[in-house]
């Protein structure tokens, strides 16, 4: 595309700023900017405006995550696993919409696992069904976070090519969502509790 005029380029300045243009489009816009000083001024202004508004209010990610409902497959009765290094926050979370409910026994089991050095757990008590409790160690939790970061999921993807993104999608699909080791079935304990 080489017929970009100044008005078109002006419209695309925010996209240039955010790295949302293809390589070819970016080159076209930059070429127009070089020939139009006013566009360069506008781009500089946009950069300054962006920088002046870039500060993010403090938000507690773990609190948000703790309030989320369980993933779809888990609501259907599958294994639930969440990762968090702060059980206190999990216990103190607000009453979330459709969040998984932990039985008293499951809370106790989770606390024991945390006290024993495990990172967390997660559970969903379903009446008359098995209560799956998945645990991962802190090391496994850290490795998981690192793998997500390495996949680029927690970072800007502006520098990724389409091929890299396709590979990334394949990597995501290949991720193992189920822990390698499952604890013993706790069905009897739950039923015995009358959950």
């Amino acid at each position: 595309m080489h017929d970009l005029n100044a008005a078109d380029a002006q419209d695309l300045l925010p996209d240039l700023l955010h790295g949302r243009l293809s390589d070819a489009a970016r080159a076209d816009v930059e070429r127009v900017i070089l020939s139009d000083p006013d566009l360069a001024v506008q781009l500089a202004l946009l950069q300054q405006v962006h920088a002046a508004h870039a500060a993010t209010p403090t938000i507690d990610m773990s609190r948000i995550l703790a309030a989320l409902p369980a993933a779809s497959g888990q609501r259907a009765g599958g294994t639930v696993s969440t990762t968090t290094g702060n059980f206190d926050e999990l216990a103190a979370r607000r009453d979330p919409v459709r969040a998984p409910r932990m039985s008293r026994l499951a809370r106790a089991a989770a606390m024991l696992l945390v006290l024993g050095g495990g990172a967390v757990v997660a559970t969903r008590a379903v009446r008359h069904t098995a209560l799956p409790v998945a645990t991962i160690t802190q090391a496994e939790s850290l490795a998981l976070v690192e793998s997500i970061v390495q996949l680029g999921l927690g970072a800007p993807t502006d520098e990724l090519t389409v091929e890299e993104l396709r590979a990334l999608e394949q990597d995501i699909q290949a991720l193992d969502g189920v822990p390698s080791a499952e604890p013993d079935d706790m069905t009897d304990l739950v039923d015995g509790e009358g959950a």
Binding site: L17, G19, A54, T56, I59, M61, G73, V97, A122
Partner: protein
């Protein structure tokens, strides 16, 4: 215009994460929250929610994840999340109005100044304050469109969805806002 954009890359990652979450992988939720929570918080603050933008952000994700398995991807996840957040802010304002604690729209500028005070520790220099002031003086619609376009990088199509307007109107609001900001800064 889509051939110009690589914004679809982000949408592809979101779709992959949603698929993982729908498949039962809770870890995908963490990635989605980390990808979108900061920009949502900035957007909510820009709408004048100075006291507790985190509450709105949290409620946005709770609502979104509550119906994420029904998300058909007709708009980007980002636009969908921003739309939910905007509605929650409007609901909050209506509720405040009913409780006679509503802040008149004419005072939104004052609200923004208060919100900016929170951020002053991070962006404290005079020129940045002047830039923020220039944006704060825009009309509510212009400010919303300009913020979504410049600060968050949304496309006109996404802005139209979030702000419940048309792409053409969003484009006009953006350019009018740009003109107003330049006029203020040149004065």
């Amino acid at each position: 215009m889509t051939d110009l954009m690589r914004a679809g890359d982000d949408a592809a990652i979101d779709r992959a994460l949603i698929a993982r979450w729908n498949g039962g992988d809770q870890r995908a939720a963490s990635a989605l929250v980390e990808r979108h929570a900061p920009s949502l918080a900035r957007f909510v603050a820009s709408l004048g929610v100075a006291d507790a933008p985190e509450e709105i952000v949290q409620d946005t994700f709770v609502k979104a994840f509550g119906s994420l398995d029904a998300f058909r991807g007709e708009s980007s996840l980002r636009a969908w999340l921003f739309t939910i957040a905007r509605r929650l802010v409007l609901d909050q304002r209506r509720s405040a109005h009913r409780m006679r604690r509503h802040v008149p729209l004419e005072n939104v500028h004052a609200e923004l100044v208060a919100a900016d005070d929170v951020l002053d520790g991070v962006v404290a220099n005079e020129s940045a304050a002047r830039l923020r002031d220039a944006v704060a003086r825009l009309s509510a619609t212009q400010r919303e469109v300009f913020t979504l376009r410049v600060v968050e990088g949304l496309s006109y199509k996404e802005i139209a969805i979030v702000a419940d307007t048309t792409e053409g109107a969003a484009r006009v609001h953006y350019h009018n806002a740009m003109r107003s900001v330049r006029t203020y800064l040149d004065a």
